[in-house]
């Protein structure tokens, strides 16, 4: 059984793509081989910056012969039919076999597909793989049309067994396969031949190439931690960086260098970001001081001076980078500590457009500050502090450091706010108000940070909703889905009880007034005042309309419909996001729907409380009882209502009860109602549902004993009204008609 070795040798493959590409090569080639009948014992894929390698062991030398019997026309059938059959089978007349069957003599064809040699199949599969390789990004080069991640230079493709090694012939746009490869670009660039995987791996190692990325990563980490340890230091772990660095070298050489003393005063995050982003250096920390004092770089070669030149060069580059960072840091600190402080940055944001329809960053900050102030009492924050925090939270966008390292936004804000002597809560909010950014990101819990984080995200959402820039399909250029998910997590994880609707309305109004010049500020302010006092947009609008008298501006009149419609649309966007969020936590979509259908569904904490209680309850025996009891009552009632065209909700009268089971149901509903209502009041949905589940037995007994659709119309109506009571009682916790099962 031969072994197959493939190496695709190219110019440098991006580090982040190597591992995936090696796996894709393995999957595509082995799938293709198996599909063609070539099974194998094992396969392994490896990669370096310049090569993708696949080794397949114990491959069949040829694909098995396949025999197939095909039944043809009857003997004596028209010539045309027989000819057609022969053509299809690829045989001649004399190769057919006549066989007696119960239906007379029939022609049979025995078709044999002979096996094919492995080399032939490999050549086809590999060519197909190369031509259709799933690179995230690929390119053409020179005058050709072949696509690869970077120019492909050579293909090594050999089959080896105990009799020797042979090249699998292949020619892809002029690149011919062979049995040679090259070593390290600089340390061993000569071409050499290989006879099989072991020979290949051994010769590569001699030619200064470590073929396995994991081996490279382990070697780097080992050596890095050893060197740091020898100096009493720790390497800051960074798995992503390690994998990336291992993808940048074929022959890793770890070098540790010192950070110039003049930069040690920079914030650790600045050092780390600058070193990682620009230089792909690991940070090395002094565990005693907590400061980052050294760096680790990984070179791709050994040198006669043991890396001295390389290290000196890297050190120089780092110093230049850090000189830049220090320049920014010092300038920024000067500004933050000046009399105008961070205010001068905010002022500067008055010249920066946030969005051409929504005005400047400074105007946006005003809106966020106003909303943060409104939200503050709801989340237990001091309103003045929340407003102050909102006003400086984005100031660092004007700082030089953030211009250079956008990923440090927020964090720099915290440093600068601390330097400016602002309250700690405000400084923390500068950093935390962007959170949570991703699903794995922590959610802030300090009230001031929560208020600003909510205000920031709600402002973004209402703003883009107001100008109708909503996400569509896969397009979400302003990351609005992420913003909504952020709000959801902020609310839920902090157990915040806030009716979103009201805050949507006020912030939509603010966005409207920014986007729409036709709205006098005064009018907007009185609307905001009314909403703040009464919490309802409709009545606020009416009140202001009345106070305006005469004929108000059209821009104002348009608000009557636009604000509630937009607000509703935004809420349903939130509900969609919430569904996705809860589904990931194992809550069924129908359960969520049943709870969204309830009043107060803009209070997400309440909504989720309901949903969780219902989800848990449905898993219990009582849950099944509740649902069955409800459904049975509801079905009969709904059918009757549809038939009669009325709604039976007038309340049933006990005096028409005939059967003891009927009276018992009245009793159960009364007793139940007394227990359920306070439980609902206290938002103890589980207790309420236990109360409802207790209705199952009386409901069943009732249906057992009583004919609902009685001849007597009075009795019938009374019984339907009784069922309606069940529906009403059970409907207090969720819209159970939406629950499946």
């Amino acid at each position: 059984m031969p072994d197959l070795l493939i190496e695709l040798f190219s110019e440098e493959i991006p580090a982040r793509m190597q591992a995936r590409a090696a796996e894709d090569l393995k999957k595509r080639v082995t799938d293709g081989l198996v599909e063609a009948g070539l099974t194998y014992a094992g396969a392994a894929a490896l990669s370096t910056p310049r090569r993708l390698t696949l080794a397949v062991d114990g491959l069949l030398a040829e694909s098995p012969t396949i025999r197939e019997e095909r039944k043809g026309p009857k003997v004596g059938a028209p010539e045309k039919a027989i000819e057609g059959f022969l053509r299809g089978a690829g045989l001649t007349r004399d190769q057919l076999e006549e066989r007696e069957t119960p239906k007379g003599a029939v022609y049979f064809a025995m078709i044999e597909k002979p096996g094919r040699p492995a080399a032939e199949i490999i050549a086809e599969v590999l060519e197909d793989t190369i031509r259709n390789f799933p690179w995230p990004k690929s390119m053409r080069w020179g005058a050709g049309s072949l696509r690869w991640v970077r120019p492909l230079h050579s293909i090594l493709c050999i089959l080896s067994d105990e009799n020797g090694t042979s090249v699998v012939d292949l020619d892809i746009d002029g690149i011919k396969s062979g049995n040679t490869t090259r070593g390290h670009r600089f340390m061993a660039p000569q071409e050499f031949t290989v006879t099989g995987f072991d020979d290949y791996a051994a010769k590569l190692k001699r030619a200064h190439v470590v073929l396995d990325a994991r081996e490279r990563a382990e070697a780097i980490w080992q050596e890095a931690t050893n060197q740091a340890f020898a100096s009493g230091l720790d390497v800051v772990e960074d798995k992503g960086l390690l994998a990336e660095v291992a993808g940048l070298v074929e022959w890793p050489v770890v070098l540790m260098g010192a950070i110039d003393a003049e930069f040690l005063g920079l914030p650790a995050e600045v050092l780390q970001t600058s070193m990682k982003e620009h230089q792909k250096f690991f940070s090395v920390k002094n565990p005693k001081t907590g400061r980052i004092e050294k760096f680790i770089t990984v070179a791709n070669r050994e040198t006669a001076d043991n890396g001295a030149t390389i290290l000196a060069g890297n050190q120089k580059v780092l110093s230049a980078r850090l000189a830049d960072a220090k320049f920014f840091w010092e300038n920024d600190l000067r500004t933050a500590k000046s009399e105008a402080g961070m205010g001068s940055w905010v002022e500067n944001l008055g010249n920066v457009t946030f969005h051409n329809k929504l005005g400047t960053q400074a105007a946006r900050i005003d809106r966020i500050a106003a909303l943060a102030r409104e939200i503050a009492p709801v989340v237990g924050a001091d309103a003045d502090l929340a407003e102050q925090a909102a006003r400086v939270a984005k100031a660092d966008l004007s700082s030089e450091m953030v211009y250079e390292f956008p990923e440090l936004q927020g964090l720099m804000g915290r440093y600068y706010a601390e330097a400016a002597g602002l309250p700690q809560e405000v400084a923390n909010a500068c950093e935390q108000h962007y959170s949570p950014l991703g699903p794995g990101d922590d959610v802030p819990s300090e009230p001031v940070s929560v208020a600003v984080a909510l205000a920031d995200k709600l402002d973004t959402l209402t703003g883009f909703w107001a100008i109708d820039e909503k996400p569509t399909g896969s397009k979400d250029p302003f990351a609005l889905r992420r913003a909504a998910l952020g709000v959801i997590r902020l609310v839920l994880e902090n157990d915040v009880r806030m009716p979103l609707d009201r805050f949507f309305d006020s912030q939509l109004l603010r966005a409207e007034s920014a986007a729409n010049g036709g709205l006098p500020e005064e009018t907007v302010n009185s609307l905001l005042q009314e909403i703040a006092e009464h919490g309802v947009f409709g009545s606020a609008f009416e009140a202001v309309k009345e106070s305006l008298g005469g004929s108000p501006a059209e821009a104002f009149l348009n608000l009557e419909k636009k604000v509630p419609d937009t607000s509703d649309d935004l809420l349903s966007f939130f509900h969609d996001r919430l569904k996705v969020f809860l589904r990931d936590q194992g809550i069924r979509h129908d359960v969520i729907d049943a709870c969204i259908a309830m009043d107060g569904n803009d209070d997400l904490t309440l909504l989720v409380k309901r949903a969780r209680a219902l989800e848990d309850f449905l898993k219990t025996e009582d849950g099944g009882n509740l649902l069955q009891g409800f459904k049975r009552a509801n079905n009969i009632l709904s059918q009757a209502e549809e038939k009669d065209g009325v709604e039976y909700s007038y309340g049933a009268d006990r005096k028409f009860a005939e059967d003891p089971a009927e009276t018992a149901l009245f009793d159960a509903l009364e007793a139940g109602g007394a227990a359920i209502s306070p439980a609902i009041e206290a938002e103890d949905f589980a207790a309420a549902m236990r109360g409802m589940a207790a209705l199952r037995a009386p409901v069943d007994a009732f249906f057992e004993a009583v004919q609902v659709n009685a001849e007597n119309e009075v009795l019938r109506r009374n019984r339907l009204n009784l069922l309606s009571q069940i529906r009403q009682v059970c409907g207090q916790v969720a819209d159970l008609t939406k629950v499946e099962g």
Binding site: P14, R16, K137, R140, F186, K316, A320, F327, T353
Partner: protein, 313 residues
């Protein structure tokens, strides 16, 4: 191996060695384009010549301006005005990486002592509607060049593909010459009759331009110039292909492209003045890109763009 005559001694010697090296490799050594550009790529010898089917090989120095990078000449290696060395070869030869490494040896970088790495860096110029795949080339952790296989320019697929090399000359030279601050770098030979440093030549202009770029340039004037360049570009391209005076087919792709270059530079100045927000940025970039595309569209209809009587038919 290329003869290096030992280590170079000055900024200009490094430039001269690159010129000689690429001349020896068969490139047409061209001169800088006479307009303000942000990078060597903007030179029509790259932008326009990378389009169409005709083979091309050019190398040149291009003074480049990035107003936001101005540091009043104080930062050791940031400048608002600097030099790029640019090589463009179409179709990209199969040994372009080796040719490139040869150029590093030509300027005195000893491959046995230094760590040269090709680090993924996909190049994209949103303003030119261009992109390509390639790398930043690192020497001991320092980016010394940009290496790109052009895939699209001005919205057109590149066929054949050009290989583009861009060297940041000051940074590269500082490294080779072992200088820590750009202003201390010898511009001509230190033993010359009148030795000049980079600072002697450029320190004052860095200060002047930094002040102008950041605080003085009139944004109103710039905004108006931007609009004018945009309008002029469109007006040029709207002309009939046949010149009514000479009766010749003259498509004015280059004059139109000059206006595109202007608009692009003005946009950079506005950016340095801090008057363009993140969202507005996109709109401005889109406007410049629209100009670049129209110029590319026009260029491929010209002779240099591969247009012949047959392709027209």
């Amino acid at each position: 191996m290329t003869q290096t005559n030992g280590a170079p001694r000055s900024f200009q010697e490094i430039i001269l060695r690159l010129q000689n090296y690429w001349a020896a490799k068969g490139c047409a050594v061209m001169q800088p384009y006479d307009m303000e550009v942000g990078a060597g790529t903007f030179h029509p010898a790259t932008t326009l010549r990378s389009l169409g089917s005709k083979a091309w090989a050019a190398a040149y120095v291009q003074p480049s301006r990035r107003p936001t990078d101005g540091r009043y000449g104080e930062n050791p290696n940031r400048l608002q005005h600097y030099y790029q060395y640019q090589v463009l070869i179409k179709p990209s030869p199969p040994d372009l990486q080796e040719l490139y490494l040869g150029s590093l040896e030509a300027i005195g970088i000893d491959m046995a002592l230094h760590d040269i790495r090709f680090v993924e860096d996909d190049w994209e110029s949103p303003t030119l509607g261009a992109w390509g795949l390639g790398w930043e080339v690192w020497c001991d952790g320092m980016e010394v060049s940009q290496f790109t296989y052009f895939q699209q320019v001005g919205g057109h697929d590149c066929h054949p593909v050009s290989g583009e090399l861009t060297y940041g000359l000051e940074r590269l030279a500082m490294y080779v010459l072992g200088v820590d601050h750009v202003m201390d770098m010898p511009f001509n030979d230190p033993d010359a009759m009148i030795p000049l440093t980079y600072g002697d030549v450029f320190k004052q202009t860095e200060e002047e331009y930094a002040r102008w770029n950041f605080d003085v340039a009139s944004t109103d004037v710039l905004l108006r110039h931007f609009e004018e360049a945009e309008a002029e570009c469109a007006a040029i391209l709207a002309q009939e292909h046949i010149d009514p005076k000479t009766g010749k087919r003259i498509i004015m792709a280059h004059p139109a492209y000059d206006q595109c270059i202007k608009a692009s530079h003005i946009f950079n100045l506005l950016d340095a003045r801090g008057v363009i927000s993140v969202t507005e940025r996109q709109a401005y970039i889109g406007r410049v890109r629209a100009l670049a595309k129209q110029c590319a569209d026009a260029f491929v209809l010209t002779g240099a763009g591969g247009h012949t009587a047959e392709t027209a038919a």
